[in-house]
Symmetry: C2
Subunit: 353 residues, 2 copies
């Protein structure tokens, strides 16, 4: 069964197509990909799925490039390598860049598509749960800088997001769980019904039940698409998608990126954010229990209080300033605010030391 | 006397302010530049104008960076240097990048503004005639690739273009003339009255008569703003701005960039394009005479016919294909077309061998 959602962005609107067997069924991408194509993948994903993607691109010139696998390669030199490949191929303005892989591949390939000749076509074929429910939708592209993640990038919407749920069969357990953190996030911030559904179905998701995964992906994409359509360039409301991320990013920064996966850091970060929210203890416990049931960490690693504050941008220079947090009013409802209990924040980071 | 034009691009609309003494008068940029500022200039322009720009930025943190002067520095490493400066300064999302200089500074600084945190504010303060009448207006930003100009970039509109005509006092004669090539272009493609005005006033422009320069800049910006408003991302009509540029780019490529200035190559290219247009000989002669009166080359340099064709992208691979040219129907009227006299093109490039 195939589901199609639409991300409503005026002239930049695009469909998200979700289903099983889309690659092997040769889903026809020709309406979404003009001209020659460059498929950007990585050394893990390309051997598994590149040959299965090609028939859907039909009869045209298709080049491909396989990046080394990992966040360490989401850099300007990798971007330059993709751009060089496009230049060498004498790719024209009608070229389409196709990202086949997880979030790193999608982010860097999308940024290359945004920059090459000031913007060429882009297609997302995400193969990790995290990319399927989060990074492939919404048009954020970019690379990391030595001093911070995603500091260099562009908003560049794809022409289509093609999600073949079968690609999750080859995803390592740890990455599947990390993807679930963002799924849980959508329920927590804006859909209490979906949150309750996740409480019922988390075991089925971990067992990779195809129907459960398809529903979780679909609902996550719907919720993200609604938020993005209302605020494409994150001037306001879109910031709610950062629930758990202020703490999560600090965890990643303090441990060194890659020690904890992004989803793992967000999982522990969501519980810290829920505790900062002044939420009913029973609701905090529901979130904690769901995160635990998904096999994700519920407590942050040991980090000194001053490291926490520095990693969240609260270093000496701006100690007097306030951070902006996404806080929960209840399960399924949230606000973006600088009005939080600073003493509670202090207690939370000291408890995690 | 100060003139203000508007580039109408919906939410991205912005003013072009043109006048004498705007820098020394401390034109207040605070409505257009939020947060901290990074002024990007070059080693030639910064000593002349940086101190005069600063009062208009008011009481805020302003950093500056002076790039080496020249097209050779319109590269990814220069972009990286600007981005590193922003990261080191811990510049936030409300930062504004201010470009103070010619086209190279504007293009690379604008691209840095487009990429940093997926887009921060941008202000153009062009100090060459070419930048004032062309590159600072319309939102094209980018850097060169070893294999071709402007292959990497973004559309990123400024919040304001501030043109102080006094900055032309320090512009070398050769660069003033090169800027006039683009001014003549606007008359040729879409304003016969302005073309006639240029015929009358070209001597005054070369003598740097302030009133004449202000009028030429204003009318050029008005014409470009109209074209850009109708087709921001060059899907169609905006291509008319490339009149003379297919030949011009080929000249630059064959001689090596910098041997002829861009405007010089465009000047000779416009006359070749006029000849390819099947225009009345008297009109070709009017264009030739105006280009000559502006002190610009009317004939291309000696380039072999096969080099011409290769440089225009008509190499062996696509010899059967057709180029798209901007051709004149009359002085002040043009079309973009692949329907041209291929034999005439052949004669033109052979004559120039």
């Amino acid at each position: 069964m195939t589901a199609t959602l639409n991300v409503r962005l005026g002239a930049r609107s695009y469909p998200i197509v979700i289903g099983s067997g889309l690659l092997d069924g040769g889903f026809d991408l020709s309406d979404y990909a003009g001209g020659d194509c460059l498929v950007v993948s990585n050394e893990t994903v390309a051997p598994l799925y590149l040959d299965r993607l090609l028939p859907g691109l039909g009869d045209r010139k298709v080049d491909s490039i396989a990046l080394p696998d990992g966040e360490a390669y989401k850099t300007v030199p990798t971007l330059q390598r993709i751009l060089d490949t496009l230049v060498e191929a004498r790719a024209g303005r009608d070229t389409t860049v196709v990202a086949l892989g997880g979030g790193v591949v999608g982010d860097v390939a999308g940024f290359a598509a945004a920059c090459y000749m000031r913007g060429v076509g882009f297609v997302q074929v995400p193969t990790t749960l995290l990319a399927q429910v989060d990074s492939s939708v919404g048009g954020k592209t970019g690379v990391n800088h030595d001093k911070g993640k995603n500091l260099i990038g562009a908003f560049h919407q794809p022409h289509i997001v093609l999600i073949d749920t079968d690609t999750l069969h080859t995803l390592p357990d740890r990455e599947l769980k990390a993807g679930l953190a963002e799924v849980i996030k959508y329920g927590a911030i804006c859909d209490a019904g979906f949150f309750a559904w996740l409480e019922e179905n988390v075991a089925a998701l971990l067992a990779r039940d195809a129907g459960a995964l398809a529903h979780a992906i679909r609902r996550s994409c719907e919720l993200k698409a609604e938020v993005v359509a209302a605020d494409e360039r994150e001037a306001g409301r879109r910031a709610i998608l950062n629930f758990g991320h202020t703490f999560g990013h600090a965890i990643e920064r303090c441990l060194g990126y890659g020690e904890w996966l992004h989803g793992e850091a967000v999982a522990a970060g969501m519980i810290m954010a829920a505790r900062l929210s002044g939420l009913e203890p029973a609701d905090v416990e529901r979130l904690r229990a769901l995160v635990a049931a998904a096999g994700l960490p519920t407590d942050p690693p040991a980090i000194g209080a001053s490291d926490w504050l520095a990693a969240m941008g609260m270093d000496k220079k701006v100690r007097g300033g306030r951070l902006r947090f996404v806080l929960l009013d209840a399960i399924g409802s949230c606000r973006v605010t600088s009005d939080y209990d600073a003493r509670r924040l202090d207690e939370l980071v000291r408890a995690a030391a």
